[in-house]
């Protein structure tokens, strides 16, 4: 094949050399420009705002649940949440119970499929993966935009379901309940929503894999890549290989619902356990779609804000791939009670394997901090919180992975607490770390450090008060997904509910900090934290084509002891005396 050299084709590029946030004339032209953009940065920002909006919707649902759970009986919260909770007679399916199930399902489905799965990769990943690679864009920019539209289109169904009364199946859509519960159009719409969202997930993942393979800057080998990229790369592999399975599952489910094809519905001769296998074959790997990008952020933040070379770079990189691989072998641990003993034993053993690469990461992060010059900025505070909270989440996975203990803990609040510690304490906390870390680069302005720290404190306290109590509830026998409970659990539930409002308050403060920053925030320089990865070589607000010159990689992403950060003064980020520098590589 012959090559057309495009270096000569660059004369027309000059007009792209403006900061990507610069408007295009009038407001309509600017909006049009954003809606049709193929710039990965704009798409990343659009994704950021849409997933955060979904987070808001899911969060409101969560608060409603917590309010209902403030009292052991069902009707009492009526005064606070309006007539809806009080509507029924307190019978087990109709009325209040039904409404509780609906809100719970919306919370779960929105948070999982519309917030946390696309969350970090599609927003921060989209923005920073090409920048960190030194590329001008992702491999397939139009596919990238398509992915956002597909995401919005899919979420539209989700919002439709909310507005028309919701569904009560739980986010797991287990058959036969999901094929028989009333609310035909809503259940179909929600399944369709997840099916469609799957495409957006695949588009993003596929795009990132190809980008990493083909668009690394000259001089950047695989082991010169920032660890955030390794994490996103591993995530993308899971997205591409797991999502089609949920696609076919929900396609079959759709037909089950519409035509009773009898594949999942036991009343028609179908096999509900087959559904569970299909569902978890996707949904377990997907918990690593949620957590791996978060781990990538933590690697970046810990290194930059403690000015230390990451300890065990390769171990962290490979553990991401190892996690991605093992994650496909453990889905059965969600079904210990619905499968044979031999299968359960094997799945249990495999489950413990996951803990190994995970622990490798945690130990490496802690070793990175040792003797670092730690700056307690908001991103760093969040990263430290992550280490603490994620460890609790991961360690409580072990009793769930062990057969004997899981029989007791399965479907209890212990599971609820476990996955909130990993998904919230892990992913959301890391997301917050990443947003603060990269906020100056995305919007060219600093946020108010003082108030951001206050907010992060509120989030930390609120989160722990909300969810640590749930470990006790679970071990004492409180089952998940119930609107009412016996009186003994009242105190713990009430503490949990109070905590959830502290948590919400933390987010409100964050919201104000962000808005304040966007309007009057102090202008950020090119590289406020002294990072060494390529995104910090761009202008304070990156140009439309990212870099003024194609970057050439001459140092590693974490060579803090020997490289003055781009755009920084040496006196702000002093290098250690040279005789202390050991060359590690």
């Amino acid at each position: 094949m012959t090559t057309v050299d495009r270096a000569l084709d660059h004369a027309h590029d000059d007009h792209h050399d403006v900061p990507y946030l610069t408007g295009k004339g009038g407001p309509i032209a600017t909006v049009w420009d954003w809606m049709t953009t193929v710039d990965h940065k704009k798409i990343g920002v659009m994704y950021l705002f849409t997933v955060l909006f979904m987070f808001f919707l899911g969060g409101v649902a969560a608060l409603m649940l917590r309010i209902e759970l403030f009292e052991p009986t069902r009707q009492t919260a009526a005064g606070i949440t309006g007539a809806a909770f009080a509507g029924g007679e307190g019978s087990s399916v109709g009325g209040v119970g039904k409404f509780y199930n609906t809100v719970m399902t919306l919370h779960g489905a929105i948070m999982v499929f519309m917030f946390i799965v696309p969350g970090i990769p599609a927003s921060l990943g989209n923005f920073f993966l090409p920048l960190q690679l030194g590329a001008k864009d992702v491999a397939f920019p139009r596919l990238n935009l398509a992915s956002w539209y597909v995401y919005v289109f899919g979420s539209f169904f989700g919002v439709y379901v909310i507005l028309t009364g919701g569904i009560d199946t739980g986010w797991t859509f287990y058959t036969p309940y999901s094929t028989s519960t009333e609310g035909q159009p809503q259940v179909v719409a929600m399944i369709l929503a997840v099916f469609i969202l799957g495409f957006s997930s695949i588009f993003t993942g596929l795009n990132f894999i190809v980008t990493v393979h083909k668009l690394r800057a000259p001089g950047m080998g695989w082991f010169d890549m920032p660890l955030f990229i390794w994490a996103i790369y591993a995530t993308s592999i899971i997205q591409v290989l797991a999502t089609p399975v949920i696609g076919v599952t929900f396609l079959l489910m759709l037909f089950e619902r519409l035509f009773q094809i009898g594949i999942f519905d036991p009343g028609l001769g179908g096999d509900p356990v087959l559904y569970q296998h299909f569902f978890w074959f996707y949904s377990h790997p997907v918990v690593y779609v949620m957590i791996l990008p978060a781990m990538g952020i933590i690697s970046e933040v810990l290194a930059v804000h403690s000015r230390k070379r990451l300890f065990g770079y390769r171990a962290i990189a490979f553990s991401s791939l190892a996690i991605a691989a093992v994650s496909f072998l453990v889905w059965g641990h969600h079904m210990f009670t619905s499968q044979g003993e031999l299968a359960a034993t094997i799945f249990s053993a495999l489950t413990f394997l996951v803990a190994i690469p995970t622990a490798v990461k945690v130990f490496n992060w802690i070793a990175t901090l040792y003797k670092g010059s730690i700056a307690l900025t908001t991103p760093m505070l969040y990263a430290l919180q992550f280490l603490f909270l994620f460890s609790i989440g991961g360690l409580t996975g072990l009793p769930l992975g062990a057969l004997s203990t899981d029989l007791h803990l399965h479907d209890s609040y212990f599971v609820v607490a476990h996955f909130h510690y990993v998904m919230f304490g892990g992913t959301v906390i890391a997301f917050l770390a990443g947003i603060h870390h990269w906020w100056p680069k995305m919007f060219g302005r600093m946020y108010n450090e003082f108030w951001a720290k206050i907010a992060s404190g509120l989030v930390f306290v609120g989160f722990n008060v909300t969810f640590f109590t749930q470990f006790f509830l679970g071990t004492q026998g409180m089952p998940r997904r119930y609107a009412s409970y016996v009186d003994e659990f009242t105190t713990l539930h009430q503490i949990s509910t109070v905590g959830s409002f502290v948590l919400a308050l933390g987010f409100v403060v964050h919201l104000f900090v962000f808005i304040h920053s966007l309007i009057v925030g102090e202008r950020a320089g090119q590289n406020p934290w002294g990072g060494l990865t390529l995104e910090w070589e761009t202008d304070p607000i990156p140009l439309e084509h990212n870099f003024r010159h194609e970057p050439i990689v001459k140092h590693g992403p974490y060579d803090f002891e020997s490289v003055v950060p781009p755009g920084c003064d040496e006196k702000d980020f002093p290098l250690p005396p040279q005789d202390e520098v050991r060359t590690v590589h």
Partner: protein
């Protein structure tokens, strides 16, 4: 590797489209762009395989659960129609591969002919499927799910067989239909001169897609028609 510089070599509007092709602004070379597209397609094919693997899984499970129903079900299928369709698809896979070879050698007329044969084969496949298979079966009441109304079913779970049959072959047929759209697009673009020795990314991509559609059928055919 030779390098063509569009401007320096003074190519004008009279030149065919493929010679004037310029890669996306973010690519260093056209080769990089081509390689990327190819990796992308292969990943996409992996998702296709996984999509169908779900159906194959369901097939295996119900074969285990209700062997009589599956045996009875496949007894209703005529292997000759399946066989003819297999041959038709194999020919089409060959002709699309030839068409790609043709554009690489700039044999534009042959490329059109081969693409057209491919398209006709795809249409033939669907015609056979609908006229000789779906149509008569549907008329007898051998339908999907709750539409199933065949009065002479010999086993209890025959409706499940038909569900699997229609889901698997239906999703496959949808892929054939999409393929026909893509191939029609290829013919249109190829007639305009969009593909030639230095640029045929789309042809390559659709070609790979078409092979996977073919391959899925190669598995569906024996499982549904031949194994009892």
């Amino acid at each position: 590797m030779a390098t063509i510089d569009t401007r320096a070599s003074g190519l004008t509007k009279q030149e065919p489209l493929w010679k004037r092709y310029v890669p996306g602004h973010h690519w260093r070379t056209q080769d990089d762009e081509f390689d990327a597209a190819k990796i992308g397609i292969w990943l996409f094919l992996a998702t296709e395989v996984l999509l169908f693997s779900g159906m194959f899984c369901a097939y295996a499970v119900f074969r285990m659960l209700y062997p009589e129903a599956i045996a009875a079900g496949s007894g209703y299928l005529d292997w000759r129609f399946g066989g003819i369709n297999t041959v038709v698809l194999l020919i089409s896979s060959f002709t699309i591969a030839m068409a790609i070879r043709n554009v690489q050698l700039n044999q534009q007329k042959w490329a059109t002919i081969n693409l057209s044969i491919t398209w006709l084969c795809a249409a033939g496949f669907l015609a056979i499927k609908f006229i000789f298979e779906y149509g008569p079966k549907w008329a007898e009441g051998k339908r999907i799910g709750n539409l199933f109304s065949y009065p002479y079913a010999s086993t209890d779970h025959e409706h499940i067989w038909w569900s699997i049959y229609y889901m698997a072959t239906g999703v496959h047929a949808a892929h054939v239909l999409i393929g026909m759209g893509l191939i029609a697009w290829l013919i249109y673009r190829q007639r305009k001169g969009a593909y030639g020795p230095t640029h045929y990314t789309m042809m390559e991509g659709v070609g790979l897609y078409w092979h996977i559609v073919d391959l899925v059928w190669i598995f569906l055919f024996p499982l549904l028609y031949l194994v009892h």
